[in-house]
């Protein structure tokens, strides 16, 4: 094991982690703010890249392609929101349905192929894993993605401070109170799901450019990575972050930490095929922490005779 190879891999892990951090910010909107587990993202995490890459391959400019990727994400979020609110399908199932449907749509977008490559030499890609060392700052993948993260965090910070944004937060916090205060909770859930999936699709478009191809399976398990980032952010930065903007930044940092840890375990010799199992286990353990804590602490209190009735 050569420590040099690990250090060499770190910048790449940072850039990739930051891109997944944008995705995790999308997951944060549904999981934390709206209190919904939205599985649409596993599909959207491919849709954005597929739309962006195919449009660029067909001669559209970078900004137009990125915007269309974002719009595609909004549509996917709308589909889930509509199934959930108007059709009364539980949120998790609505997300799974959209995600499944997206698999076919993604294949269609990619002209029936499971994989479409785009070469940074021939197309004006905004990020690429080739631009990580020995390039001017404005081209550096980490720098470019960091700018995206900051802009997205700023926009979200503004948005969730508006009347509409507050209403969406209230919807997630207490739906019956929200309706009593005249808030259209169904509409707000749809808006939140759209926004979340739009951001995830944008992350997908960046990831496809970064790795130089879009793959039909690139979104598989995205929700787990997103949750991992959200949970890591809470565990590590939870006590430091009280402001909404810093909470979002912490989520992005959580994704970076996740990717650095992944690089580390790969460096230790873990088979790359076992990564998803490892991710699932890690997230499962962290999600069960609150319950275990409660049980363990209650046990302690009983032993000490300090338990309350």
């Amino acid at each position: 094991m050569n420590i040099g190879s690990l250090i060499n891999a770190l910048p790449g892990a940072c850039a990739q982690g930051l891109i997944w951090g944008i995705m995790a910010i999308g997951v944060y909107i549904t999981y934390q703010i709206l209190d919904l587990a939205d599985l649409t993202v596993d599909g959207t995490m491919c849709t954005g890249g597929a739309v962006c890459v195919m449009m660029m391959l067909n001669g559209y400019s970078l900004p137009v392609s990125l915007i269309c990727a974002f719009l595609a994400g909004l549509l996917a979020g709308f589909a889930t929101g509509f199934l959930h609110t108007a059709m009364g399908i539980p949120a998790i199932l609505a997300g799974i349905l959209t995600q499944l449907g997206l698999y076919s749509i993604n294949l269609r977008v990619m002209l029936g192929k499971a994989n479409q490559a785009i070469n940074v030499n021939n197309y004006p890609l905004i990020v690429s894993l080739r631009n990580i060392r020995d390039v001017p700052l404005y081209k550096n993948a980490i720098f470019v993605v960091l700018v995206f993260v900051l802009v997205i965090v700023l926009v979200l910070y503004w948005f969730f401070g508006t009347e509409l944004g507050c209403a969406i937060r209230a919807t997630g916090s207490n739906p019956s109170m929200s309706r009593a205060q005249g808030i259209n909770t169904n509409m707000n859930k749809i808006i939140g799901l759209m926004l979340s999936n739009g951001i995830v699709a944008l992350a997908s478009a960046l990831l496809a450019q970064y790795q130089g191809f879009v793959d039909i399976n690139m979104g598989r398990g995205a929700i787990v990575i997103g949750l991992a980032a959200v949970i890591i952010a809470q565990v590590i930065f939870g006590k430091l972050t009280h402001n909404f903007a810093t909470k979002l930044l912490a989520v992005a940092a959580g994704a970076v930490i996740y990717y650095i840890v992944i690089q580390f375990v790969l460096w230790l010799g873990l088979n790359a095929n076992d990564l998803k199992l490892l991710s699932a286990l890690v997230v499962a353990i962290f999600l069960s922490v609150p319950r275990l804590k409660e049980k363990y602490l209650n046990g302690l209190m009983k032993k000490g005779g300090a338990g309350r009735a």
């Binding site: 401070g161 009347e163 509409l164 507050c166 209403a167 937060r169 916090s173 207490n174 109170m177 909770t185």
Partner: protein
């Protein structure tokens, strides 16, 4: 101010769990009426308030608030006309949001939610003044998360939120039942104060007969989904708990023995 005509509601119709919750409610409230509602468990008190608030749509009948027929309006649209405080202190506020954010949400009841700032400096000053009325020291804790407040504080805050934008009708669903006696008295006092100050039309459900007699200008007793007793003015002021118990016994017959515990 409020007119309810022939409202009926059956839950789980056609199943073994069928429950005829409201079997024909007629009620007219004049502007400034403060009605207390009593009745045993399952009498239809909360169901009546939920019917007015639009938690679900009624099977039959009409609900008219200040001349506007709201029978078919969804809950969030009716909220424009209504202020509501619930029995469970957790229900009326958003725990993960600050006191001032909760108030800002309430002050925009019935207005479209735009991309304008969710709260501004002038509002904060106004909320401070309003919070002082509650006499709970909340005016110095505007940015505290509501989840950190006690049940009584949350209930008082909910009351303030319900009346921040003057409602056509204030619905109080046993809003002091979950509080300790001292806090309950304080919240009830604040309720009286606000209703009198703003000349609100209000309906208050209570399990406490003394409270039902002491507060408001009109008293309604419900039983098995209908109104069985409606008294107001001087006649109400002369009422005693024993009168109400007698009335209830007359209406419900044998069941009285069971319900006496709950009512007294």
């Amino acid at each position: 101010m409020l007119k309810i005509v022939g409202v009926k509601k059956t839950f789980n119709a056609g199943t073994v769990n069928e429950k005829r919750a409201l079997v024909g409610i007629d009620l007219t409230l004049n502007e400034g009426d403060f009605v207390t509602v009593i009745g045993g468990n399952g009498a239809g008190k909360s169901t009546t308030l939920n019917a007015i608030a639009g938690v679900w749509l009624v099977d039959e009948g009409e609900i008219i608030i200040d001349g506007i027929n709201v029978t078919r309006l969804p809950e969030y649209k009716r909220a424009k006309y209504l202020g509501r405080v619930f029995q469970d202190p957790m229900t009326g506020t958003a725990a993960s949001m600050q006191i001032e954010e909760n108030l800002a949400l309430a002050s925009r009841r019935g207005l479209p939610r735009t991309l304008k700032s969710g709260i501004n400096a002038a509002e904060r000053e106004r909320y401070k003044e309003k919070l002082k009325i509650l006499d709970l020291g909340l005016e110095d804790r505007l940015t505290t998360k509501v989840g950190l407040l006690s049940g009584g504080q949350r209930q008082a805050l909910t009351l303030l939120m319900a009346t921040l934008k003057k409602p056509k009708l204030l619905l109080l669903d046993e809003h002091t039942a979950a509080l300790d006696p001292k806090t309950a008295a304080k919240v009830l006092e604040a309720t009286d104060k606000i209703i009198a100050r703003d000349n609100l039309t209000a309906i208050m459900i209570t399990h406490n007969m003394k409270d039902a007699i002491a507060h408001g200008n009109r008293l309604i007793m419900m039983h098995e989904g209908r109104i069985i007793y409606d008294v107001s003015g001087e006649e109400k002021q002369k009422l005693h708990v024993s009168d109400l118990l007698a009335k209830f016994e007359q209406a419900s017959g044998d069941e009285f023995a069971n319900d006496r515990m709950i009512l007294a």
